[in-house]
Symmetry: C3
């Protein structure tokens, strides 16, 4: 018999009892469960960062994995709790935009109907434990959970990278990792890799490399990043600190 | 065959090799083990915080779960290592007060007798790995571990919330979470929810809400918290920072 | 059927999607997998700290455990990815010195040959996910992975503690833990425990104790530490901060 795999992504941090309480409830339904933490260090309420991280990692897991994401500024209000299926992966998340990068119109999408008794007994502050986790637990165990189709999920707007007639591509920084590497949303295939320059924060960069190591000290390199978009980086140093680059900063690619 | 579930709660942090060494030892005894981290970020030696977190989450786990807590300022000295059973849960912890909120007089309570060879070979600084974990490992595997009844565990004193004739309740803040929400020890059932006011830090609060979202910006709300006590909070902002509220601060409820 | 045990040690931190992506890939190959985090909080690129932590904990795990360590400043360059076996434990790591404290000349040591298709499709920045994890996954599943003997691994130099004719031992601090305890590389058996003095940072210490608790406030004690070397510590206080002790600082033992 195989273990079932479920991931957790939250903004609960690792100091409080919130993460373990969710895990405890899930294990009440199914003990043969491999619970994998994606991260619990999303800044409180930062749905966009959560959305990006979920998008960047969900496919690395085996099919049938359940991805359970709780970044939920709306706890206690009447946002829906969603179930979505895509490419053999199962997603459970509040309806607040965290599925933005993953949702496609063809995806089966439902909202969960919670039993009255659950709602009555739930705390006002911890729906993750009192409503969401039991629903996911029932799903894990193969029990029926009531759900109805939900056509229009909440999605947040984000500028997709845009190419003009000259071949210029305007995109933005969508992630900065712990090493200070700056990940853009400009797909590798959208540019001529190795040709042209990048402008960010008024600075021109034209050093195309295939590894961090090739970047001389103090210089900035352009790489194919791990989600197949252009990434800007320094060698063993934080580019984010060096140029004060933040989430959302504009990135322009100009071909030669 | 089901996985066995064990939780770990320590003040070891996540940077050193201490947590993994405990897990390694446990896995030597039982490989089909689902080890769940409650937290390892208890401030060094903060038994009271560990006690509160253990209390707040232990029941969310399935029956037969083993809760193994090591916050142990006394490592190397002769405090006992306890085994306690309550409501189908198993607890292992040093005898230093960490079971304070969970212990009841009817709970079977024992101290572990370690084999001489273990004591002889143990390091002076890491009893968690050299004595506690092997004992828990034997228990997990169903092997005999020597233990004798232990009548009076170390418990730390804490003021239970008190109601006077006028219906006023005096309690205190027993937890502040990463969001800055301030959790009191005044049970929800001890007050008339929605009626009356709370005084904390000289400030009167009379805004009773059922979700964080209902609290207008800059205001403070009173909610039923996740452990069914009164909780004070702001909406997407840290109340703890705003009013400089700390563990132990007095909270007074006055009915209308 | 038993769960297979694998540990992970990285400098990826817990905020990004890097750790979960590695775990996802491993689970694609083998679902019945107990993945244990040693730590992901190694300072970026700090191979020496990673090497020490791996060395300090690997033996606490059951035989057949796979230890998978990725601290890899050289990602994207042509350092090898190694497989080593020692005492029934399996190690996978880039060839950059992280096995320094574990490697012995008698250890079977190989470098992995990655299939061309993997190399072609790998990102430039995340070999851990795109090359290393799939190779480890195949190994886990019992599938063939191509490897060839690799005689001379990269090892970093470190001074082993040295004893002179007078019985003096010169060593150094090789680890400082979260409590500020300072762990030296002088083996317990190399000195007369309880006799003599330690000099560090110009300060003489002659208080030999068997537990932190025995050290009076403000004083410094010498203990047998958890990896059986001499450790210097204060009681519930950070010695590292107190004396500004850092990794590499010299420690001299002089017998009476």
């Amino acid at each position: 018999m195989n273990m079932k795999v479920i991931t957790l992504l939250t903004d609960f941090g690792l100091d409080d009892f919130y993460v373990s309480s969710i895990k405890g409830i899930l294990l009440k339904y199914e003990k043969n469960l491999n619970i994998i933490d994606i991260t619990h260090n999303i800044s409180p309420f930062d749905i966009k960062k959560g959305a990006f991280i979920l998008y960047s990692t969900y496919k690395t897991f085996p099919k049938e994995t359940i991805h359970f994401a709780i970044v939920d500024p709306g706890v206690g209000t009447f946002r829906d709790f969603l179930y979505m299926e895509k490419e053999g992966y199962h997603f459970f998340a509040p309806d607040n935009g965290i599925l933005t990068f993953i949702y496609e119109e063809y995806c089966p999408l439902f909202k969960i109907i919670f039993p009255d008794i659950w709602i009555k007994e739930a705390s006002f502050t911890f729906h993750g434990r009192d409503l969401f986790a039991p629903a996911v637990g029932k799903f894990l165990k193969g029990e029926h959970i009531e759900m109805v189709p939900k056509p229009n999920p909440v999605l947040f707007e984000y500028k997709k990278p845009h190419k003009n007639k000259k071949g210029e591509v305007k995109g933005s920084i969508i992630y900065i990792d712990r090493f200070g590497n700056c990940i853009s949303n400009i797909p590798y295939e959208m540019v001529k890799f190795g040709k042209g320059k990048i402008i960010i924060k008024g600075k021109e960069i034209a050093l195309w490399v295939t590894s961090y190591k090739e970047i001389p000290e103090g210089k900035i390199g352009i790489l194919k990043g791990s989600i197949s978009t252009l990434e800007l980086a320094q060698n063993m140093s934080s580019l984010s600190n060096f140029l004060n680059i933040n989430f959302g900063d504009e990135v322009i690619y100009t071909p030669i």
